[in-house]
Structures are given as structure tokens and as C-alpha cells.
Amino acid sequence: MTALLETRGVWQRFGGLVANSDVSISVGRGEIVGLIGPNGAGKSTLFNLIAGVLPPTQGSILFDGEDVTNMPAAARCQRGVGRTFQVVKSFETMTVIDNVIVGALVRNTVMREARRKAREVLEFTGLAARADVLASDLVPAEKRRLEVARALATEPKLLLLDEVLTGLTPTEAQTGVALVRKVRDAGITVLMVEHVMEIVMPLVDRAIVLDLGKVLVEGKPAEVVRDPKVIKAYLGDRHAVGA
């Protein structure tokens, strides 16, 4: 079976800055893949290229066997790419359920069905009790959850999570981890960008480490964390010697 998502030799330049150089990765169906790397490694850029915020300078992106390199974000969403934002982008003047309905409208044209779907997703993500609250009144952890709920309402095949677990308390992060597992168990492939190694590593099936815009290492989390190249890129030379 072909991979659900594949990038082939993707480059992204911003003026003189090379954010991604020759990145080729693939994500298989049903996987949870972690995209990690130190600050400035090009994770967010790659993430945005996959989500369709902008087309890559060079290279191609395939989703579900289709070339989506130049397809705008909205069209990719219809094909089955859902995403969250690192800096949450809730619809602040709308209630929680209305936020989710916007996502649900992608696959449900009848309002009643979109509303039912939104309810279902709110149950799934544990936000049901907050359905009628304005998004602006949510606490940060709930806003993260709403990002996920909104994306899930579009019924994606691939869910892109941009640092949804960063900046949460340990308990909040653990419920977040449980939610990601639940999402995968529902048959949705997950690609997540994350900083917090000790939370991500037990969660993902495979980790892709980016450094300076390139793929540094790729493999099982247990192997990746022991790889000297990764430790060097992430923590500096001192720790690499120790390993």
C-alpha cells in the first residue's frame, strides 16, 4: 500500500534563508509520526507546506496518491488533511460548538447533520460540557483541544498537530496524549510536531528528526533518542560524548 503522505525532494527558501532542503519523508496509513528537531530546524515550514499554506519552492507533495503540491489549504482539507495551529486560532466570537460546526460543514451540507457531527466530536474530545461557551472564554488547554476538535470535525485522513502538547501542565499533557491515541485508534493517521521529547517519544510509532532544514535521522523513537547525531543536534556536543 502506498504511503498516505509523501514529500519528494521538498525545498523551501525564504529569500536567502533555506528553511527546508531536499526533504523527503513519508507517512504510512494509521501511523503516529513525530516530527521533531531543535528550534529553527524547519519543522513548522514543512508542516505549513504539507497543510498547503504555501507551495514549496521546489519538490512535490503527494497525499493519498494525488499530487497536491500547488493545492490551496481549503482544497487539501476537502481531500482529508486536517490541521491545528501552534498559536491557537479559535473563532473567538463564536461558541465552541459553532467553531466545530465550521469544520463539520466540509462533509455535511445540511446544518442539522453538521451540528450532530460537531456534538459527536465534542463528546470525543471531552469538550461537550463547554459546547455553548464562547471560544474566547476557554482556558488555554481547552483552546488546544478545540483546535483538535475542529480539525477532527472535517473528518481527516491525516491530522497534522502543531505542538498541541507544548506549554501544558503534565496532567493536561497526559490527557492530550490519551486523545491523540484515541484519534489514531479511530483510524486517523497523525503527524505531529512536538518539542517535549519525553511526552512525544512514548507516543509516536516513528520519529523524523529535522535539523537545519534537512532530515537528520528517521526511525523508531527508542533508536532515534540514542542516535549520537540527534543528541548532538538537540542537546549539544557535551551530551553526545556522554552517550
Binding site: 497543510a51 499554506v53 490551496p72 489549504a73 481549503a74 482539507c77 476537502q78 486536517g82 490541521r83 495551529f85 486560532k89 479559535s90 473563532f91 473567538e92 466570537t93 463564536m94 461558541t95 460548538i97 459553532d98 460546526i101 465550521v102 469544520g103 460543514l105 466540509v106 451540507t109 446544518m111 453538521a114 451540528r115 450532530r116 456534538r119 455553548d132 461557551v133 464562547l134 472564554d137 475542529r150 480539525a151 470535525a153 472535517t154
Partner: protein
């Protein structure tokens, strides 16, 4: 809960029907022509502001150039009538279509602009329209167009002896604009518009066609405003560029919505019900010498509202934890 939501939608509809019913009966008690005039204008501006609210309130694309569509409605109707003998009823539709098309044509380049740049563009475009009509000889240029009066006629929608038909038309327009808003509020378009207003990037990522959302809102909004312009032309039976396309119309469409509650179902009606009588009464009271007093009055009102209640008068009644839309 969803039942609660459906009940609130029904309640809104019932309140609107009751209010419309009451409004329809007022001419039985109000015989004074001056007061009738104020009522007509209030209803008209309520309808216009409601239409403006679709693009600027729901979809968040603040326009201060809607006078253009108002004027286009008026001019299309009267040019068709005086030059080709087309009945105003058809002229009204034609004006609406022309305005909607022009709104989309303008939207094509200008919806790429965000925030203040978009607002500035709308002002400039409306001023250009005004100048074009000032210099367009075939359309009467600065002299304008006088609508030939041939006595009371429903066919030609002109009445000398009574204002009642105008009153009921204005009421119908107001109801139509309200109903369209009510209907769209719980539709894909309504949700798309609010999403686009709140966060276009997030909207895009959820499959919302941001550009076409704006185009749709602009078309509906311009169409309804143009119908209002056609009506106004018939009502005053004389138009010139300044009297149907002047900047004050853009303001008078925006202010009631801002006063009552921008992006809400009831805001424009509430705002117009307060603002327009106030404007007309001060104008009436101070006569020719007082031109500008009305502006001072509502300028002050707007400043007070934006300082004390930035979400409009309706926010006084809002139950933020319970309500669905911001109302």
C-alpha cells in the same frame, strides 16, 4: 443544547413577526405626515443597515462605500424608467443585479486587502462612483434625474396623495433583509462568514473558501442595498449624485448596525429605531440652519457606544454563556 438552539431561532422569528405586525398597524394611528416620513426612513435604514451587516458585520469586511450600491440601485431604476420606460419594479431587480455584479467585480481585486486597507478602498471606490455620475451627461450629470409624476400608480410605484404604499414597501424591505439574515445565520454561508471574520487562516484550513465567502456576502449585501436605493429614488422622485450616492449614506448604513450591535441579527433594527428618528427629529427641529446638528448627535452617540459598549446596545441583553451567535 440543540433543542434550545432551535427554540431560540423560532423565538427570533416569532418576535420579528410580531414586531412586523405591530409596525404594519401603526399607520392606522399615525396620520401625521412628518411622523410617517420618519417611520418610512427608519424602516428603510433598518433594512439597509441589516444588508450592510451581512458583509461588514457577519463577514467582517467593513465597507464605508455602500452608498455606491444605494446610488446604483437608484440610478439603474430611474435611467431605465426615464430613458426606456421600464417599470420601476423591474428596474429595482435590474439595479440589484447590477450592484451585485459590480460588488463582485470590485471584490475580485479588493478582497485581497485586509483590515483598514479594505475600508479605505471602499471609501475611495464610492467617491469615484460619485464623481463619475457627476460628470456623466447621459445620466443627468450634476443636474440629476427628475422622475415624471403621472399620478398615483402601483404599476409605476409612485404616489402623491398618500405615503402609505412607501411605508409598506419600506417595511417589506426591512423584513426581507432581516429574514435573509435570519435564514443565512444558520446556514453554511453564515458559519463561513463568521469564521472568515474571526480568523481567515483557520477558516481556510477547515475547508472554507474564504474568497468566495466574501464574494457571496458582497453580492447579497449589495443587491439588497440597491433595492433600497431604487425604493428611495421612487420615494423622493428626484435624484442627483449627491442625494443618492453621497458619503452620508455609507455612514447611515453602518452606524445603526454599530450602535445596535455589529454582526448580530437584531443590532441593525435596534440601532436604526434609535438613530434615525433622532437624526430626523433634530434635522426637522433645527431646519436648514441646523444641518450638521444631526451629525453631532449621532457622532456623540457612536463615541459613547464604542467607549462603553463596543459590542453595541444588544450586548446589554446578552447572556454570553448561553447564546449561540454573538448577540
Amino acid at each position: 443544547m440543540d433543542k434550545e438552539f432551535a427554540a431560540r431561532r423560532r423565538r427570533d422569528l416569532i418576535i420579528a413577526a410580531v414586531l412586523a405586525g405591530i409596525a404594519a398597524l401603526t399607520p392606522l394611528f399615525v396620520k401625521d405626515v412628518v411622523v410617517q416620513n420618519i417611520l418610512i426612513l427608519t424602516l428603510m435604514y433598518a433594512g439597509l443597515s441589516q444588508s450592510w451587516n451581512i458583509l461588514s458585520g457577519y463577514c467582517g469586511q467593513i465597507s464605508l462605500g455602500h452608498a455606491l450600491y444605494f446610488g446604483l440601485g437608484a440610478y439603474t431604476t430611474e435611467l431605465l424608467f426615464t430613458k426606456f420606460g421600464v417599470l420601476p419594479w423591474f428596474g429595482m431587480l435590474a439595479g440589484g443585479v447590477v450592484s451585485a455584479l459590480i460588488a463582485m467585480g470590485l471584490g475580485y481585486p479588493f478582497f485581497r486587502l485586509r483590515g483598514h486597507y479594505f475600508v479605505i478602498a471602499t471609501i475611495v471606490i464610492a467617491e469615484i462612483g460619485l464623481l463619475l455620475f457627476h460628470n456623466w451627461d447621459w445620466a443627468g450629470a450634476a443636474m440629476g434625474i427628475t422622475i415624471p409624476i403621472r399620478g398615483d400608480s402601483w404599476l409605476k410605484f409612485q404616489f402623491l396623495r398618500t405615503k402609505l404604499p412607501y411605508f409598506y414597501f419600506a417595511l417589506a424591505l426591512c423584513c426581507l433583509a432581516w429574514f435573509v439574515t435570519w435564514w443565512l445565520e444558520d446556514s453554511k454561508w453564515g458559519f463561513w462568514w463568521r469564521a472568515v471574520k474571526d480568523n481567515p487562516d483557520a477558516a481556510e484550513s477547515l475547508g472554507v473558501d474564504v474568497f468566495n465567502s466574501k464574494m457571496g456576502a458582497a453580492a447579497v449585501s449589495a443587491f439588497l442595498v440597491a433595492v433600497g436605493g431604487s425604493f428611495y429614488a421612487q420615494f423622493v422622485s428626484y435624484i442627483d449624485p449627491e442625494s443618492v450616492m453621497g458619503f452620508q449614506f455609507s455612514l447611515l448604513m453602518a452606524l445603526p448596525a454599530v450602535l445596535g450591535g455589529i454582526g448580530t441579527l437584531w443590532g441593525p433594527v435596534l440601532g436604526a429605531a434609535i438613530l434615525i428618528p433622532l437624526t430626523e427629529l433634530t434635522r426637522f427641529k433645527f431646519g436648514g440652519s441646523g444641518r450638521g446638528v444631526d451629525l453631532i448627535v449621532y457622532g456623540t452617540l457612536i463615541v459613547l457606544i464604542s467607549l462603553a459598549l463596543p459590542r453595541g446596545l444588544l450586548s446589554l441583553f446578552a447572556r454570553p454563556k448561553k447564546t449561540g451567535a454573538a448577540r
